[in-house]
Each structure stands twice: as structure tokens, then as C-alpha cells.
Amino acid sequence: MSINKSHKHIPLFALALILSVNLISGVYLYAAEAVKVTTRFDKRTADVSEQIQMEIFVSGAASNVLAPRLPAIDGFDMYYAGRRNQVSIINGIKSSSTTFTYLLAPTRPGNFTLPPLEVQVDGQSYQTSPIALEITGGNASGSSAQTSQPQAGAQAPTNNQSRPSPSTVQPGDLQPTINNSEIFMRLVTDKLQAYPGEQVMLTYTIYTRLSARAEQFEEDPDLSGFWAEEIPIPKDNKPERVSLEGAPYLKADIKRIALFPTSTGQVKIDPGVFRVMVKKEARPSSLFDEFFDQSFFGGSAFSQRETRLLTAEPLNITVRPLPKEGQPADFSGTVGEYTLKSSVDLKMVKQNEPVQLTLVFEGLGNLEILEKPPIAEIEGVKVYDTDTSTEIKRGPGGISGRKTFEITFIPSKEGTFDIPSMVFTYFSPRENRYQTIKTPLYQIKVNPGEKEDPLLMLGREGKDARKTISVKQQDVHYIKEGFVMRDQALVGPPVFRGVAIAGALFTFMGIGCFFYRRRQDKLSHDVALKRRLYATRTLKQHLKKVRRLASNRSPEGVRKLYEEVARAMFIYFADIFNLSNKGLTFRMIEDRLSELAIDKEMRTQLRHLFETAEMAQFATSSSLPDLDLNAHLTALESLARILEKKK
């Protein structure tokens, strides 16, 4: 009955459990950090020839961060240099950060205040604080060397706003000229046919025979149908002397843009209108005088000048569709030239410990839109995208750089698992075919480990949580409870002292045993020595017995007494002189004693004891000898001591 009752409650408990888990995970997920937008600079003071790196750092639980649209900033050219996303869910608390990197190239010295920059995060607008920057060095005249204009339609986060001109002459109703023989502008592309996503380098070049100074775009180029990224012109870019149809000209590139077509068909590039200032004075007597008098980029701000507006013929780019033939089913849509490197940080982990796979794409092309290849599901392994970062380089060859993806795998079972090969297919305009690059298969060994921390796992299951994950410990482990208070360590000085003393004792014992063993060995090899060494001890034992027997004055007792005396003497002298007991006579003993120079009186006393002892063994009860046994035994002991010394 009770079992049935408990069964009834199972769904209820399960429901409660699920609700609790969801509630807790929800709480943890929403216990996210508030969104913060801040700017960081690698330096606040720079020379006019240096670049300043600016990072716009967006932190918090934001998932949708749009690249900031930056206003034109007086005194600086601004270039987008990449973005980096990092999201982590730790102990159920989600936090994310996105960093946009820009390079600020100062155009003139002075003190500047960077206005608040606006960033859209999850549909809400956030602003940074104004930042003061100091630019030193160079000519403080404020003349603009060259201009750089952001591009319409580009996600590159610079904006198209005209800046104040240092010129004293306003353009007014001037008409742009195309084919003026004294000064004109040309648009050049490195190719007129391209595939969608293929990089096309567009260069604006001015040819002049006048003393001129480049200003800025009066009318922005129309680059609809392209993703555009501006390439900075080096500051030390010098005009070249060229000859066109026999006439000498100064030629200078004023703008370079990397274009990535976004659609197919004929796409027209409207060049816009560029403003230059030319000198009003009479022309120098020779062209070479002019070259040395004024450079194209370095004209004096105080010269009397007039404004000219330049434009060029529009350019048409034919954007061909990507070939259908040979297009793999898993084509990523990326066009360019790429290499792929991959690595894993560990090949052996414990259960629930992360393995990080790093994919690094490098090459020429629009890395901003490059997507990570798909990962096949792995049984018993949770997969999380962690960091993504893009580093963009802008060089004469266009946009190149590196995009890094970090993917975390967390195995829940012990054993081994494979990180499958990841395939990336792109279209190579250089080769005019589809190229496939892949990562190797990585086999990871998983050793048994600790159980998963449930708190750590909460929040990983949500869709947003799949964005990135960090399993680094973020909080201290719990305090200790229920422990025994000790004022002395378990293995402390007393234990050490005890063991050390025992060691010392055993050392002494060992030394003793060593000498004992040596003596035993020696004796086992020298029987005569052994007999001699033990002779006195044996004699003493016999004499002890003799003295005990001496108390019995019965004839039988007296006989036994002398028997014992005779045995004691024979055994003793046999041992001392290393002789056999059998056939030993007192004569033989006496000879040996004489050799050892034992005095005669002692030998006589000993002979008397021998004879008495021998006679007593065979005497009748009436004829038992009457002997001062004690005196004789003492004499025997004295002799033994003498012999001991003589050994």
C-alpha cells in the first residue's frame, strides 16, 4: 500500500525537480553582469608618426553586440583592426565580452578629445566616456596630409562625415573635372572581373603637373554592392614622377579600398568627388623647380590656393557567380586564400575536464565573415564554442589576417573519444576552384575523474550558454566543518624523534650483532680457539656442580663428587690444549703444563687431585680419601686463570 502511494508521488517529485532546476538555472542565467562599454588605449600620448590602438570593450551578458558606428574624429584617421568575442558561464553565471579594435592614425599634432562613442547592445544604446589624447611632434600647422574616407555599406566601423577644411577657399559651385590635362584623378582596380566575396583592390590616384595639395572627398564614392575595407596609405608615401604621353606628372595614391562584391552581375563604382587645392601663383620655370618647390603632400597652408574638384570615369566590375561545377555540398561560402592550423591543449584528461581545440585560419580575404566549420555530435561529450578573435592586417596586397576559434569539449564518460576531422571548403579565385582543408582527427583519453559540479553545469544547457563556456574555478571551495582541533600535527616532532631514536637503537644493535656474527664466524673456522675460549666457562660450570655434590657425604655421593672432579679436569685440559678426551693421561697434561712453565707446586697439587679423584672412583666406602677438596679446587681455578692469561 505504501509502495503504491510513493509511486503516485513520483511524477510530482519529477515535476518539482524539473521546475527547481529550471528556476535555478534561470536565476543563474539572469544573474548576469550588467552591460558595460568602455574604451582602452595602448597610450594616451603619441607622436604624430605613431598609431594608437583603441579597444572598445563591451562586457556583460549581452548576446547581440553590433559593431559601433564611429563618427569622423578630428585629427585622426581610423581603421578597424578586428574583434574578439568571449563568453563564459561559470557556476551558472553568464558573462560575455566583445572587444572591437581600431587603429587611430594621427594626422596632426595637438590635444584632442575623443567624443563619446556609441555602441548598440541588445537594441540598447551605450556610450563611452570622452577621452583626451595628446599628439606631439611634426608640423603643428594643422594641414591635412591626406584624407581617408569610410565606405558606404561597409560594416567597417568608421563613418563618413566631412571634416573642416583648412582651406580658405570654399568649393562653391565648382564642377568636378575629369580630363584636365594639368591635374586629374584615376580609379584603378587590380581586376575587373571577380567572384562574390573575392577581394578587389581599388586605388584612387591623382596625376598633377601643378603644385597641389590633396584635401578630401567632397562627395563620397558609391560602393553599393561591395563590402569595403579601407587600406591606409603609408605616411611616408612619396609622389612618383611619371611620364604620360610624353608629359611629366607627379603621381600619388590618395586612397585604397579593399572591395568584396556581395552580389553578382555588373556592379558600378561611382568614384565620388575629391577636392584638391592648387597654387595660384605663376608656374615655376621648370617642372623640376616645381618638384622641389612644393611637394604634393606638403604644400604650405599659407600659399594662395584655389580649389579644384576631381572625379573620374565610373568603373564597372563584373561579378561572376561562383561555379556550380565541383561545388561541394558543405561549401562554406567563403572566398579567398586560406590555410588552417589546429591543435588541442590536452590529449589526456579526467572526466568533466575540458579539452580545448584551437582552429586558426590565416590568409587573404574577408575574415570577418568566415564561419567555423560544423562539428559533428560526439556521444557523451559536451561541445562549447569559447573564444573567437579576428586580427585584420591591411597591407598593399589588401585585407589579410587571422581568425581564431576556440572550441571546448567536456567528456562526461571515461574511456576515449575522438574529436572528428573538421572540413572547411572555400573557393580559391587564384586556383579558380574549390579547395578543401581539414583538421586531423584527435583521439582524447578520458581518465576517471570527479563527479560534475551541478552548479557548474547549470546554465550550460541553454541555447545562449552554447556560445562559450569556461570551466575554470571561479570561487573558493566551501569552508571546512566537523574537523578535529589539534594543537600538534599528526606527524610532528615527537613522531620524528621516536623514529629517530629507534633508528639509533637499532644501529647499536646492528653493530653489536655485526661483531657477534664476526666472532661466531671466526670460531666456526678455528675449533682449537673455540675450545680454549669456552674451556674456563665449562670448567666453572663443572666446579659449580662439584661444590653442590660436595655437600653429600655419603659414599655414593663422594664417589659421584670425584667422578665429576675427574671429568671436569679432563674436559678442561682437553679443551685448553685442543686434545682428545679419549686416551688423555695426566702425564700428557703435566708435560704441557711444564712447557707453559707452570710452577711445580701447582702441578703437584694438581697431580694429587687427579690421583685422588681417580682412586676415589674405585675405592670402597671405607677407603675413600680424605682430601681438602676446597683447597684443591681453588688451586685448579687459579691454574685456569693463569692459563687464561697465557692464551
Partner: protein, 250 residues
């Protein structure tokens, strides 16, 4: 044999009473510390745990709990000191090691450790045991060698001679960690920055120029103690002088 039994009982009772008195002496204070921690009165908890740790120097759990309290108070330098002291008593405790590692990871200012890699690894190995554990293991190996050879000399069994030789080799090898541990205890002193920004100066004077400003939690070796100044050496080899008040010895 029977006459030893009362003596044995007396010894057991003596040690039992010592332990019992140690357990029962300050239970209230421990209770208060636990309650203070639970109620997030971390300052009170830290003080109480520290007082108890002074009374029971072998109870590393008190230092651990004090370290947690200091961490909650965002006194990262103090927490590191307490964890390090606890690690000297219980160097293999997982929680303790994890918390100490966490504090290292949380440090924004990372110093490149320019000490020899083999010396660092060796110290890591040696620091897996307390000095007394190492000394006791060392003495035990010697004892075993002596015991084996005593048996060998007495009973003349060659097996014990060979076994004694193995123990002797192990004993000789164990002299290296024991020597390192002894050297560290005698001549090596580490300290931790416990102030927010600590100036490391070129000389032991307030008028000296600041070489580096160190954040809280940086660990360094103390080379010399001169008046109110320590000469310290950072892991990257930088040396400088700094005031006592900004540091706490481990």
C-alpha cells in the same frame, strides 16, 4: 607482561585526555566563527578563525576557513598568506590547493617565473609533504635499514641484507628532499603583498625611487630584513626594497 598493562592504559588515557581537552576547549568560539561566516560577517569570522588558529597551530582547517573569510573580504593577499600557512601543514589537501590556485589565477599582474624549471619542479615535489613528514620518512627508511641489517647479522639471512641495502639507498635518496626541506625552513622565507599597491624601491629609504608598484597577492622571497624594510626578490628575478607593513610573512 601483565605488569605493563596498567602503564599502557595510563599512557592511552593520557593521550586521550590531551585530545579531548583540545577538542572541548574552544567549541563555542569555533561555533561563533562558523555562524559569522554563514551570516556573511566575514570580518568577525576572519578574526575568530585566526584566534583559534593561533591556539591550535596544527589545525590547518582553521587557517583554511580564515583564508576563505579573507577572500570574501577581497583581502586576496591575506587569503594567500593563510592558505600558504595551511598548506605548510596540509600540503596535499585538494580544497586548499584549489583555493590557492584560484587566487593565483585571479591575479591580473602575472610575473614570469624565471627561476630554473627543475628547481621549481623539485620544490613542487618537496612541498607535497610537510618537513616533518619528510624527516620522519627519512628516519623511517634509516630505521628499516638498521632493522634489516640487525636481523641479518643476528640470523644470517641474506634476504635481510639485500632488503636493508634497498632501504639504505632509499634513505640516501630521501636525504635530498629532507635537505631541501631543511634549507627552506632555515634559510628561505616567502612573503605576500597585503596592501593594494606596494612600492618596490631601489633602496631601503622613502626617498629612493620606485622601481615597480606591486598589486596585492604577489609572492616574493625575502632576502634581507633591515629595519622597517625587506629586500625581496620577485619570481622574475627583480629585487628591491619594500616596507614591512605592506607584506606578511608566510
Amino acid at each position: 607482561m601483565r605488569k605493563f598493562i596498567p602503564a599502557f592504559i595510563l599512557i592511552v588515557l593520557f593521550f586521550a585526555s590531551r585530545n579531548a581537552s583540545a577538542i572541548d576547549q574552544k567549541p563555542e568560539m569555533l561555533q561563533q566563527a562558523m555562524v559569522a561566516y554563514g551570516e556573511e560577517r566575514f570580518e568577525d569570522a576572519l578574526n575568530l578563525f585566526e584566534q583559534l588558529a593561533t591556539a591550535y597551530p596544527a589545525t590547518w582547517e582553521l587557517l583554511y576557513n580564515a583564508g576563505n573569510s579573507a577572500y570574501r573580504l577581497e583581502k586576496k593577499g591575506k587569503a594567500i598568506v593563510l592558505y600558504e600557512r595551511a598548506l605548510q601543514i596540509a600540503p596535499r589537501d585538494k580544497d586548499l590547493r584549489a583555493n590557492r590556485k584560484l587566487l593565483t589565477n585571479l591575479q591580473e599582474y602575472k610575473l614570469e617565473d624565471k627561476r630554473n624549471w627543475y628547481w621549481r619542479k623539485w620544490r613542487e615535489v618537496v612541498n607535497m609533504a610537510t618537513p616533518h613528514e619528510i624527516y620522519t620518512a627519512n628516519a623511517s627508511l634509516y630505521l628499516l635499514a638498521a632493522l634489516c641489517w640487525t636481523i641479518y647479522f643476528f640470523f644470517s639471512k641474506s634476504f635481510f641484507f639485500k632488503l636493508g641495502r634497498v632501504f639504505l639507498i632509499l634513505f640516501i635518496l630521501s636525504l635530498f628532499p629532507a635537505g631541501t626541506s631543511f634549507w627552506e625552513g632555515k634559510y628561505y622565507q616567502e612573503a605576500v603583498v597585503v596592501s593594494k599597491d606596494t612600492a618596490l624601491k631601489y633602496g631601503p629609504s622613502k626617498s629612493e625611487k620606485v622601481a615597480v608598484t606591486l598589486p596585492e597577492g604577489i609572492t616574493a622571497a625575502v632576502k634581507e630584513d633591515k629595519g622597517a624594510w625587506y629586500q625581496i626578490q620577485l619570481k622574475d628575478g627583480t629585487t628591491g626594497w619594500t616596507l614591512h607593513k605592506d607584506w606578511e610573512l608566510i
